[in-house]
């Protein structure tokens, strides 16, 4: 019985999707550069399911700074900060304290539960499809939302 199954499996294609290449590259950065210049071919990843929870997207302009997201974040990845843009525009004495509140999300600490998306009264948070987030530096620019 088992032998029959094994024989059948011998002629089947493997289930594994070989992302990013058939043979794992020694240096991913190097490989991606080669893909960009057209020297290598990228095996596409398995498509993400609908409503996938990837890297968070933040619309800073519609945010009112209520801070509810920071209250429900299980990993305390959300920090409440003053609006930098506003400070630059109204650069006066004491202006920092009058600046409206905004949030800063550290994606390296995010657990991708999307609880902040659910509680946001202005719907300015969203989960995107982006999932390639590995980085050596936890505080890398790509891992802080909104960017600098």
């Amino acid at each position: 019985m088992m032998m029959n199954e094994v024989w059948k499996l011998l002629f089947k294609k493997p289930k594994t999707n070989k992302f990013p290449a058939k043979y794992a590259p020694k240096n991913v950065h190097h490989f991606l550069r080669r893909v960009q210049s057209g020297k290598a071919k990228l095996v596409p990843p398995v498509p993400t399911p609908p409503d996938f929870r990837g890297k968070i997207k933040y619309d800073i302009d519609s945010c009112v700074g209520c801070g509810l997201c920071a209250q429900v974040c299980p990993s305390k990845a959300i920090e409440i900060v003053r609006d930098k843009k506003w400070i630059i525009m109204h650069c006066k004495e004491g202006a920092t304290l009058a600046a409206p509140l905004k949030i800063k999300i550290y994606v390296s600490r995010c657990v991708f539960c999307a609880q902040c998306v659910d509680i946001c009264p202005r719907k300015c948070l969203q989960m995107s499809d982006e999932f390639l987030l590995a980085n050596e530096n936890k505080l890398d620019k790509s891992l802080i939302v909104p960017g600098p």
Binding site: E5, V6, P50, F52, L68, V72, P74, C113
Partner: protein
């Protein structure tokens, strides 16, 4: 020669995810004494729930108590909070919870079956079972958005609906498992290799199971018809009417050995498929959450006072969460988790006694204690004051060699 050795296994060790120490006294190959030491690790999960987090944050913390049981822990905690704060859960949410819990059971049992096959050195079956398991993982990913941490539980309901497309996918998935169940059954229950390594190995008698409070499939395999879904139904199980599966359903006899645990788990996969199909056909319509506005829910939980207990039949057995809330305080006043493996560790003692070292991996694995970390065993020769180590690889090799030996002698 009548000298005995003591082999400490753990704290970071064998066939077990959780750090636990096993001290085995061996005389030659026979195990003559077993001692188990628990509480080797403290992650402070309950402390965080009682000091740092509010109730909503704690759902996601409970989800991370265990990687595989990430539906039953939040479900259990959420039930406890609902009882404490007197929140009524809408019926549709209860049905979706049932589907999720059963999908988790299918994936957990298949994972366990694969690991059990790996422990006895039958890696073909291991890969075959895990390939079958991929289908249910894909289904979970489609329904909840992520493969492992599902983040679907919420106090007073669930966060995601199962739409028509999702229901169709579940039906297809369940059909796939019903078609393949015959194959799995044939491989696991009629293959001579698996039978000779697991029959009459690691026997737990009914009396011992009752005395040591074994739970879940471990207790059921010893002939104790004990199942929270049957005894204290929660979610939609009361409407379905679950019956605890004992091995005598399959072949009319109870041995209480590892083979019986395989039977129970495989039959439970089939039972889960039946439950999911029934739940899908009888799903009522209605709201998903008792309180849609999360801010209102937060305020309500802050005002709530009382205590509640949640009981859930996890794939490994009965899981209990106790939660006490105090008015005016956001974190829990107290939170206690009793995971099923806690009860299933003591039964190792009667199971391992009289066995062989080569049987330790499969017997320990048979209670499904989150496997891995089998990295080091130190063998202490008490007479000669000599120490040497058995690595995970060596122990696994011993197990594989025993299979080979039995196969040669059996033919």
């Amino acid at each position: 020669m009548n000298e005995s050795y003591t082999i400490p296994i753990g704290p970071l060790h064998p066939a077990i995810h959780e750090p636990i120490t096993l001290k085995l006294e061996v005389s030659g190959e026979r195990i003559v004494g077993v001692d188990v030491f628990c509480s080797q690790v403290h992650r402070g999960i309950e402390w965080i729930g009682m000091n740092r987090n509010n109730a909503i944050q704690s759902i996601y913390l409970a989800e991370r108590v265990c990687g595989i049981c990430n539906i039953c822990h939040p479900l259990c905690m959420v039930q406890a909070i609902e009882k404490a704060a007197e929140i009524e859960v809408p019926e549709r949410a209860e049905y979706i919870r049932t589907i999720m819990a059963e999908l988790e059971r299918i994936h957990s049992h298949l994972l366990w079956a694969g690991v059990a096959a790996h422990e006895i050195g039958f890696d073909t079956v291991f890969h075959y079972t895990w390939a079958l398991r991929e289908n249910v993982m894909d289904l979970i990913e489609y329904l909840t958005g992520n493969r492992v941490t599902k983040a679907i539980m919420m106090i007073g309901g669930v966060r995601r609906d199962i739409k028509e497309e999702g229901a169709k996918k579940i039906k297809e998935g369940m059909k796939f498992y019903l078609e393949n169940f015959k194959k799995i059954e044939e491989i696991y229950l009629h293959d001579p290799t698996i039978k000779m390594r697991t029959r009459d190995v690691g026997i737990l008698t009914k009396e011992d199971a009752l005395k040591l409070c074994a739970v879940g499939p471990t207790a059921r395999a010893s002939g104790v018809p004990k199942d929270v879904r049957q005894d204290f139904p929660y979610a939609a199980y009361g409407d379905y009417g679950v019956k605890a599966i004992t091995p005598d359903v399959y072949n009319g006899e109870v041995h209480g050995d590892v083979f019986d645990r395989i039977i129970v788990r495989l039959l439970e996969v089939k039972q889960s498929v039946d439950i999911i199909n029934w739940v899908l056909d009888n799903m009522p319509s209605g709201p998903l959450l008792a309180e849609k506005n999360l801010v209102k829910l937060k305020i309500r939980l802050k005002k709530a006072e009382g205590e509640g207990i949640g009981r859930v039949e996890a794939p490994r057995g009965e899981d209990i969460h106790y939660v006490r809330l105090k008015a005016g305080e956001e974190p829990f006043l107290s939170w206690k988790i009793r995971a099923p493996t806690y009860n299933n560790v003591l039964p190792w003692i009667p199971m391992l006694l009289g066995g062989q070292i080569a049987d330790v991996p499969i017997v320990a694995a048979s209670t499904d204690p989150c496997m891995s970390c089998l990295n080091r065993v130190t063998v202490v020769d008490t007479d000669k004051k000599k120490e040497f180590e058995i690595t995970k690889e060596y122990m696994h090799e011993l197990s594989v060699r025993k299979t080979r030996r039995l196969m040669r002698n059996g033919r």
